[in-house]
């Protein structure tokens, strides 16, 4: 079979973009319903195709700079699933009637898949650049006209900054390794006899880009203020997409290139003198403290949520930084859980119709009027915090069982995250009139919340299949045990 079938999902998405563009040209008046249907069909088809591409046992396809192994497959599925969830929730979005938004959002997904499945640094940089510009464009279309120009300008600048660093990285890779293909770079490193300063520079750049795309505080800023005035689905959803891509950068460009499984032991060892695992750990530790802290200090609802949804990714990154096989699988599975969390959060917060400047004042006593939506948000955030019985608590237990002094920071993260969730939970039922429930959401919406919540809770209670799936995804790297 030709390896170009790897591009099937991307082609499907591209076709979706073309169809949407055709609708706009031919009909002159964009039909929101039609566009939504096409968008969802394109994403669903791509998801199914991506799922079918996963062959057992997992095979490595390296053709023309693309790769599809376990982790890539898993991250690709996460991206497509999150995109579907974003689009499903946009059905009721007031701002979703713009055709540009639909096309641009689909384009973000398109480039996202390339960013994850690309085996060459330069291709990934270009893909992420495309993601940044298209995301900014999509977010700008949902704001007021006078804001659009500023946001477009902001997006261009951010993209350029990323491009500069990315191009520098590509140049360094080619000059040092003679290659920009990941697996080839690793072979060169293994052979040794490299000057350390350039290799060090490459590692720093990779980690910088990974942190920037993931948005780990204080490295946030790729999307910036563009999310402040757009819809919840796009602001939260795009943050999630970038977080998945950022995690992929850490795993694919960082761990799987600059480390290898140690002989006789089920953990990774660094291939260079500069231990990349330690640096990832430092970055994640900073994120573990700052993510919930900034969420707590930010009284704006949107701002705090945008910080807090990164918490499961940061916890996963921390777990990954130890390089132990048993934890790696769990950490990668955490990304899958994060997708469901973001989906539930988007769907439930949309139902509450918060304004962009809503603070905790508007949140207060909300649970008494919109209990279902409010509780869904709280449960989603609890899952993001890693509270029991959700999946995150299992990962935290496994991570803490590693004999490391950094475990204290993880406990600190738990304290801060717990405080954040606890504050929201108590404020939700604070004051107000008891039993003044006036349901504002439909039965269908409630069923949708319930379905997502049930999946989330099942992932937490019956974590074994998810953990096995995550462990299986890195089997190709560690080999048979």
């Amino acid at each position: 079979m030709s390896s170009y079938h790897l591009l099937l999902p991307q082609c499907t998405i591209l076709i979706g973009v073309l169809v949407l563009a055709l609708f706009e040209i031919v009909d002159k008046k964009f039909h929101h319903r039609q566009g939504w249907i096409v968008h969802v069909i394109a994403l669903s088809l791509a998801f199914v195709q991506q799922l079918l591409l996963y062959r057992l046992p997992a095979s490595l396809f390296v053709t023309g700079g693309m790769i599809l192994d376990g982790t890539t497959q898993l991250f690709s599925l996460c991206v497509l699933l999150l995109s579907i969830l974003i689009q499903i929730n946009r059905q009721t979005e007031k701002y979703s009637s713009q055709s540009q938004t639909s096309i641009l959002t689909l384009g973000v997904t398109f480039f996202c898949l390339f960013a994850i499945q690309s085996n060459r640094v330069l291709f990934s940089v270009i893909s992420v650049l495309g993601m940044i510009w298209l995301a900014h464009g999509a977010l700008a279309t949902e704001t007021k006209l006078k804001e659009e120009t500023n946001l477009i300008y902001s997006g261009i600048i951010r993209g350029l900054i990323f491009l500069v660093v990315g191009v520098l990285l590509s140049i360094l890779c080619i000059s040092v390794f003679g290659e920009s293909q990941m697996d080839e770079i690793q072979r060169v490193i293994v052979r040794g006899r490299l000057r350390q300063p350039p290799v060090f520079a490459i590692e720093v750049l990779i980690l910088f880009l990974g942190a920037l795309v993931l948005g780990v505080p204080p490295f946030g800023g790729i999307l910036g203020r563009a999310r402040n005035h757009s819809s919840w689905s796009l602001s939260l959803g795009l943050t999630g997409l970038f977080a998945i891509v950022g995690t992929n950068i850490f795993v694919r460009w960082g761990l799987l290139v600059f480390t290898r499984p140690a002989i006789g032991v089920l953990e990774l060892e660094p291939l260079t003198t500069w231990n990349i695992l330690n640096v990832i750990r430092v970055i994640s530790v900073t994120g573990l403290v700052l993510t919930p802290l900034l969420a707590i200090l930010n009284k704006n609802i949107r701002g705090s949520f945008l910080f807090f949804i990164l918490n499961p990714f940061v916890q996963a990154l921390f777990a990954l930084s130890f390089g132990q096989r048993e934890i790696l699988g769990g950490a990668i599975a955490q990304v899958v859980v994060s997708v469901i969390i973001i989906g539930l959060l988007i769907s439930s917060i949309q139902a509450l119709e918060f304004s962009p400047t809503a603070t905790l004042k508007e949140w207060m006593a909300l649970g008494r009027t919109d209990m279902v939506a409010c509780l869904s948000i709280i449960l989603a955030l609890s899952s993001a915090a890693g509270l029991a019985p959700f999946y995150g608590s299992f990962l935290l237990q496994k991570t803490l069982s590693i004999n490391s002094s950094f475990g204290v920071v993880l406990l600190l993260n738990m304290v801060l995250s717990g405080f954040y969730v606890g504050r929201l939970l108590t404020l939700a039922f604070h004051g107000g009139t008891a039993d003044s429930s006036q349901p504002t959401i439909s039965r269908t919406q409630k069923m949708w919340f319930a379905a997502q919540f049930i999946i989330l809770i099942f992932m937490g209670i019956f974590w074994q299949p998810l953990y096995k799936y995550g462990a299986y995804s890195i089997r190709q790297f560690f080999g048979e045990v």
Binding site: S154, I157, R158, I161, V165, P197, F200, A201, V204, L205, F208, L212, P217, P218, F219, G220, G221, G224, R225, N228, W274, L294, L297, N298, K299, N300, G303, T359, L360, K361, W363, M364, L427
Partner: protein, 395 residues
Amino acid sequence: MGYFVWIRSGDPILWGGIAIFLAMTLSEVFEKRTIEPFTVLSALFFAQSLLAQNIGVVIICIAFGDMFLNVEIFSGGELLEKNRAIQNICRSLFSLLPVTFGVLLGLKGHYFIFIMSVTVMLRLFSWPFPHWISEEKKDSAFFNLLVSAVSSFALWRGQDFSTFPEWAIIWMAITALLSLGAQYTEVYISMSLGAFCISPTYGLLAAAMWPLLVCRGKSVYLVALFSAIAGALISEAASKVVIENTVYVLSGLSALILARPFVSLKPEVRTWLNEVRDLLLSVILFGLFVYVLPIQVPVIGPFGGTFVGVFILTYIIGVVLYSKRPKLFEPLQGLRGPLIPDLTEPLSSLNEKAGWQINLGEGPLSVKFYRALESESHLIWLLGLLGVALYWGGR
């Protein structure tokens, strides 16, 4: 009950107590002609406490007996009495607390007898702590006797005082002290228990007069006589364990104080038939015990004689003085108010109140900070940090 008694017929303490209880019940039934259902239940539990071998079971039966008595009070009374019936549950449980502690802690010997004495004091005497049952049903002494006499006997009879003979005189001294505010009935019941310390037989013989305390007719004067005899026996027994002079002093003082309540004794006015009936019950009991139990005829020596002499003398003088100075012979007032104070003004910090107000809005500094984090210049700063990191690494 009869079956259990028949099985344990070799144990006179067991069937003796039951016999006394039955006699008291008969006296009450004959007098009143009616008996309330919850009173019957209560009496059954008290009777069961007399039959139980295990001290824990005795305590449980007494607790249930108290409970049903309070149910009786509750079901028949006004709102005020209903309130008191509920409050009595706490007070009756409080009286059982010391002996329960003793059982749980596994105390033995002197320690256990001491802690049991505290319970008996709380259940028997209405001074200095007002007895909860003495405030109820003033026209029925049967209630009072169930709670005080029967339960005290049930607790007391299980102990072996033969190895602790000093408890007889100790108990008499306690009785004397508490008699300052107690009724004569309480004093006599207590002296019966004191006699039990010398010998269970003497205790039973003394308790044979308890049916007279139910209706308290003229025959109740006999109780005074038996008190004096009991005191004399105790004084004689005490001479074997305490030095002589001390016995004389204790006997004399005790007799002086113990005679006081009997001076203000006022028997109920009843028909001679009822009087004879009660007397007959006590005599039958007494005779039964004398016939069945092996009795050593007690010898009243100088110590006993001292007690009896002082007792009688005090009684006679008291009767003469009573008409002129009645207050000298009335019981002292006990403590008023609840045993555990009711805190009507709780600490203000423990009140249910509104908590601290919290600021839920965004401050200007916070807005600026987050805007800075979201701006492009933040990325420029990060680039600068990247440059520093690369430079440091390159070196």
